[in-house]
Amino acid sequence: MLTDVVVVGAGPAGLAAAVRLAEGGRRVRLIARGNGFTHWGPGAVDVLGRVGDKRVERPLDELAGLAADHPYRLVGVEALRDGLDWFRGFAAAAGLDHQGDPARNRYQVTALGTLRPTCLLPDPAAAELRGRLAVVGIARFRDFSAALCARGLERAGHTVTSATVELPSWSHRRSFTAVELARAFDDQDFRERLAPTLAKAAAGAEVAVVPAVLGLSRGHEPWADLQRRVGLPLVEAALAPPSVPGLRLFSAWRRRLDELGVGWQLGFPATAVERDGDRVVAVRCEGAARPVVVRCSEVVLATGGVAGHGIEANRDGSLSEVVAGLPVAGFPSRTGFVAGHFLAAHPMGAAGVTVDAELRPVGDDGAPLLANLRCVGGLLAGHDATVEGSREGVALATAARVAASSGATDRTDQVVPRA
C-alpha cells in the first residue's frame, strides 16, 4: 500500500493528526511503540490550566502572554479553536459528548477531592458540583476512597457526605481493577441492581461524585442510564491510570481510524528515518520479528517528550530525539533534568524539539532541517504539558495545523498567516 503520511505515535496528538489527515484525503499509516496518554490522563481536554503558579480562568486570554516558542504561539489561536471544535464533533459522533468552552476553564473533580482546572469535560464528568454533595465509593475498589475524596471536597468548601456501597454480585467478587469494574457497568442488569443502593447512599444530596468507572465500551450510555435510575447527577471523579474515560476515547479513535482505512500498528517503535537530502523517504521501525521500513512522502512525529519516549534522557545530561535524531537542548549534567521539589516543574518535562510555524524542526539558524517532517504534541519544545495543563489542547491545535497544510509543507517559501 502506498502511504502519503506516516504518523508516529498514538497519543492524543498522533491520533488526531492521523484521523484529520485521513479525513483530508491523505493515505495515512499510524505506527507507535504502544498506547499513549489517553490511557494515562484524567480523561479531559486540558487547554491551559496554569501559567506559572497562577490558575488560569480564561485560557484564550492568556495565549498572547505565552513565550514566543510555545506551541500555541506558533500555530495560533485559530488552530486551537479549530482543533477543539473538530474534537467535539468527532467525540460527539462517537457518543462521547463533551462540555466546555475555551473562553472559560472548568474544574474536574479528582479521586483526592481536588479540583483540577481543565477546558472540555466528557458529559459524565461535566455536571456542576453544587449544593450538597455525596461521594460514593465502591467496596474493595482500591483506587477510589469516598472518605479521601470527600475530605478534599470539604476542604474546597463543599458540603459533603461520603459512603461506600457494596456491589451486586458479579464475577469479580474479591478483587477487581477499574477496567473490570467499568466493563461490569456496561451491563444493564448490573446497573439496574446497583441503582437503588447508590440512590440510598446519595440520598439528600443534589449531586453524587463517583469513581470514573461507569462503563467502558458503550460510550456515555451506561452513565446516562445509571444517572436516570439514581435520579440525580452523577459526576465521575478522575482516577490514577489506567483512565477509563481515556480508554473510551481511545476506542473511538480506533474505530475512526478503521472507518477511514488508516492502517495502525501498535508495538512498532520507530527507530530511524531514511533521508534523501532534506526529505524523509521512509521510517524504520522494529516489528515483532524483523525491522520494518515504511516508505512515505511525509512524516508526522507525535512521539511525545521524555515522558512519552520520544526523547531519551541520557545519563550525561544530554537529550536525544529517538526517531530522526532531531536536536534537543540538553543540560550540562543530569541534575539539570529535575527540580529539587517533586511537585515543582522539572526542566526535562519541558524539553522538546524546536520548530517553525509549520511545525518543521529547525536548526540553530531557525531554518527547517527537514522539508517534509513535522512535529506535534508533547514532542514540541516550549511547553510542559503536565505543569501548565495543556496536553490535549496542544495536541489538537498542532494536529489542526498539520491537517490544514499537509501536502504543501515541502514548499519552504510558503507563508502561513499567524494569529
Partner: protein, 595 residues
C-alpha cells in the same frame, strides 16, 4: 513539663541503642530509650543491608573481622527472620593484586571465617551475571539483614521486659547535679512540650551524632562521620552478595535484597552526619566500578541513590591524623566511660562499630555499666531468641507466598512490595506520625514505581481510619445497602486537634521518595518520574500549596533543626501515648531495610 523516672536513659534509636535497651531490659534494669526521629532513621536505615561475614575486614582489621563472624552466627540464631541467607563471594579480577587474595584467605583463617575457594567456572555457575574475566572467587557466609525488622524485634523484646521507647523525642539538654547527670530533657515532638526524664545513668548511643549528645552533656567526643553513598538498582542481578577481592574501595560490593540490588559504597569524611547528599558523579562511579564485576549493571535501571553516615570514632591519640578517606579508621567499637575520661560520673558512650555487631556492642557496654551499677545478672541476649524468630529465615518469595495463600491480590495497595490494605490498616492502628513511617514499617513505596500508585492509596486508608468529625457518621446513617466508613478500626487521632492535612503528608511522602532520586534520574527512571509527576501534579493537581508543606523538608540533606515535625503541626497522626514504631508486625519477614 512532664516527668518520668527510670534507671537508665539510652539516647539514640538506631540498632545500637535498641540493642542496649534490650540488653538492659533482659538484665532487669529499668530503661527508657529516646530518639529524635522515628527509630532506624539514621545510619541504621541508610546502609546496604549486609550481614557481614567479616571478609571485608579479614586483611586489615582482624578484630573487626572476628567480631563480625561471631555476631553473624549469633544473629542467625536469635533473629533468623530478619536475615536472608544469601552467601557471599569475593571475586578477584584480572587487574587486582593476586597477593591480596592470599592474604584474604589467610586473614579469614586467622579470624575464624569459613572460606571456600571456587574456580571461575564454579563462581559463574553460582552467579551467572559475573564477568567472564574473573581469576578466582572465595565463598564466605555473608548474608542480608533487615535493620528495621531487627529493630522492631528488639524493641518488642525490650518492651516485653519493661523497657520504654520514646521516638520523636530529641534530647535538648541534661540536668546536671554536680558530677552527675540527674535528668535528660527531651522534647515531645507530637505534643510540643518538654519532658524531663530523671535517671541514674545515661548511655549515649547516638552513633554518628554521639559528639552532639556529648556536647549537650559537656564532654568532648570526636566523631568522624564517614559518608557512604549507595545506589539502588531496579532488580537483584545477583543471587548472593558479590564483593571485590581487593583493599576496600569505592564501588566494590553488590548486595541483593528484596526486588533490588544495592551497590556500595564510598567513604568520605564529612563535617555533618546529617550531610547525606549524593553527587551524580558518585552514582556513576558506583555503577562503573560494580559493573567491573557484574557488567549488566551498567545498562541497568537505577531507582535512586542515598547516603549514610558511618559512626566512626577518633580516639584522642589519633587526633590530628586526618585524611579524606575514612576507611583507615577501625570499624571496631569503643565504650567510653566518661567518669574516668571526663569526670562525669554516670555517662557512658558507645561509638564506632557496625550493624552486624550491635548485639555484642550492647553486651560489652552493659557489662561495664552493670559492674558500676552493681547489676549481677549476666548478659543473655546471645541466647534469648527474638520475637519473630519462630518464622525462620527470611525468604525472597515469602511475602508473595503469603499474599497467594490469602488470595489477597485485590487488596494490594503497593504492588511492587506486595503490601496489602490490611497491613496498612494494622500499621496505622499501631501508631503513625507520618505517612512516611509506612515506608520503614512496610517498605511501602520502595519498588520500581517509587510510590506512583501506593502513596495516595495509603493516604486513603489513613483517612478512612482517622475519622473526620461528622463526615462518615452522617453518611453511615444514610446507607443501608452499603456500609459506612470507617469500618471497625478505632480513630487514630483522638485528640480532636487541628485538622490533619493528608495531602500535605502525601506531598511529604513523595518528596522523601524524590529526594533519593535527584542524582539518578535518566532513561527509564526519567519516564517513571514524569509519569509520577503526571499523576500527582497532572491528574491529582497537588500543587504549590501542598508543595509548600513539603518544602520545609528541603531537597538536600535532612535538616532536623528546621524540621516541620518539630512543630506540633497539622498532621500528627499519633495516638496519644503510643510508641510510633509498633511491634505488631514483628516476624512478618517483610521489612528489610535498605536505606
Amino acid at each position: 513539663m512532664t516527668s518520668l523516672d527510670t534507671q537508665v536513659v539510652v539516647v539514640g534509636g538506631g540498632v545500637t541503642g535498641v540493642a542496649v535497651l534490650r540488653d538492659l531490659a533482659l538484665r532487669g534494669v529499668g530503661a527508657v530509650l529516646v530518639e529524635r526521629s522515628d527509630l532506624g532513621t539514621g545510619t541504621s536505615g541508610r546502609w546496604h543491608g549486609l550481614l557481614h561475614s567479616g571478609g571485608r575486614y579479614a586483611v586489615r582489621d582482624e578484630e573487626s573481622a572476628r567480631e563480625c563472624i561471631e555476631e553473624n552466627m549469633v544473629l542467625r540464631r536469635i533473629a533468623p527472620h530478619t536475615i536472608e541467607d544469601l552467601g557471599g563471594l569475593f571475586v578477584l579480577l584480572p587487574a587486582d593484586d593476586p597477593s591480596y587474595a592470599e592474604r584474604f584467605v589467610a586473614g579469614c583463617a586467622a579470624s575464624g571465617i569459613p572460606v571456600e575457594e571456587l574456580s571461575p567456572a564454579q563462581a559463574r555457575r553460582r552467579e551467572p551475571l559475573l564477568t567472564n574475566g574473573i581469576e578466582a572467587a572465595y565463598a564466605v557466609p555473608d548474608g542480608g539483614i533487615d535493620s528495621w525488622s531487627l529493630i522492631r524485634s528488639m524493641v518488642a523484646d525490650a518492651e516485653a521486659h519493661g523497657a520504654r521507647v520514646l521516638p520523636r523525642h530529641p534530647v535538648v539538654g541534661f540536668e546536671r547535679d554536680g558530677d552527675r547527670l540527674a535528668a535528660v530533657r527531651v522534647r515531645d515532638q507530637a505534643g510540643g512540650e518538654e519532658r524531663l526524664i530523671g535517671c541514674e545513668w545515661v548511655v549515649n548511643a547516638a552513633g554518628a551524632w554521639a559528639g552532639r549528645v556529648g556536647a549537650l552533656a559537656g564532654v568532648p567526643i570526636e566523631m568522624i562521620p564517614g559518608k557512604g553513598v549507595m545506589v539502588v538498582m531496579a532488580s537483584r542481578y545477583v543471587r548472593g552478595v558479590v564483593n571485590a577481592c581487593r583493599k576496600p574501595a569505592d564501588g566494590d560490593i553488590v548486595v541483593p535484597q528484596h526486588e533490588v540490588a544495592i551497590l556500595g559504597t564510598t567513604s568520605v569524611q564529612v563535617e555533618d552526619p546529617d550531610d547525606v547528599t549524593v553527587d551524580p558523579a558518585e552514582v556513576d562511579r558506583m555503577i562503573d566500578m560494580c559493573a567491573q564485576m557484574v557488567p549488566s549493571l551498567s545498562g541497568g535501571r537505577v531507582l535512586r541513590a542515598f547516603a549514610g553516615s558511618r559512626p566512626l570514632y577518633k580516639p584522642p591519640q589519633q587526633a590530628g591524623e586526618t585524611s579524606g578517606d575514612t576507611r583507615a579508621v577501625s570499624r571496631t567499637f569503643t565504650v567510653l566511660d566518661h567518669a574516668e575520661r571526663d569526670g562525669l560520673a554516670n555517662l557512658f558512650s558507645i561509638v564506632g562499630g557496625k550493624l552486624t555487631t550491635c548485639r555484642q556492642m550492647a553486651e560489652k557496654l552493659v557489662d561495664q555499666l552493670g559492674e558500676r551499677m552493681g547489676v549481677e545478672v549476666p548478659c543473655s541476649t546471645a541466647e534469648q531468641v527474638l520475637p519473630g524468630a519462630e518464622h525462620g529465615s527470611h525468604r525472597l518469595a515469602g511475602p508473595l507466598a503469603a499474599v497467594e495463600q490469602e488470595q489477597d491480590y485485590g487488596t494490594l495497595l503497593c504492588e511492587c512490595e506486595l503490601v496489602t490494605t490490611e497491613r496498612v490498616r494494622e500499621a496505622v492502628a499501631g501508631g503513625l506520625v507520618e505517612l512516611e513511617d509506612l515506608r520503614r514499617k512496610l517498605r511501602l513505596g520502595f519498588g520500581p514505581c517509587q510510590a506512583a500508585f501506593c502513596a495516595w492509596r495509603a493516604a486513603a486508608v489513613v483517612c478512612e481510619l482517622g475519622g473526620s468529625g461528622g463526615l462518615e457518621s452522617e453518611a453511615g446513617a444514610q446507607v443501608a445497602g452499603g456500609h459506612a466508613e470507617p469500618s471497625g478500626s478505632p480513630p487514630v487521632d483522638q485528640g480532636g486537634g487541628p485538622e490533619r492535612d493528608l495531602l500535605g503528608g502525601l506531598a511529604r511522602f513523595l518528596q522523601e521518595r524524590w529526594r533519593g532520586q535527584l542524582a539518578s534520574v535518566w532513561g527509564d527512571q526519567a519516564r517513571q518520574a514524569l509519569l509520577n509527576h503526571a499523576i500527582y501534579r497532572g491528574i491529582f493537581d497537588l500543587d504549590a500549596e501542598h508543595q509548600d508543606e513539603a518544602s520545609a523538608w528541603g531537597s538536600g540533606g535532612l535538616d532536623w533543626g528546621q524540621h516541620p515535625r518539630d512543630d506540633p503541626g497539622a498532621d500528627s497522626l499519633q495516638q496519644a501515648s503510643r510508641a510510633a514504631v509498633g511491634h505488631e508486625l514483628v516476624g512478618d519477614g517483610d521489612g528489610r531495610g535498605e536505606e
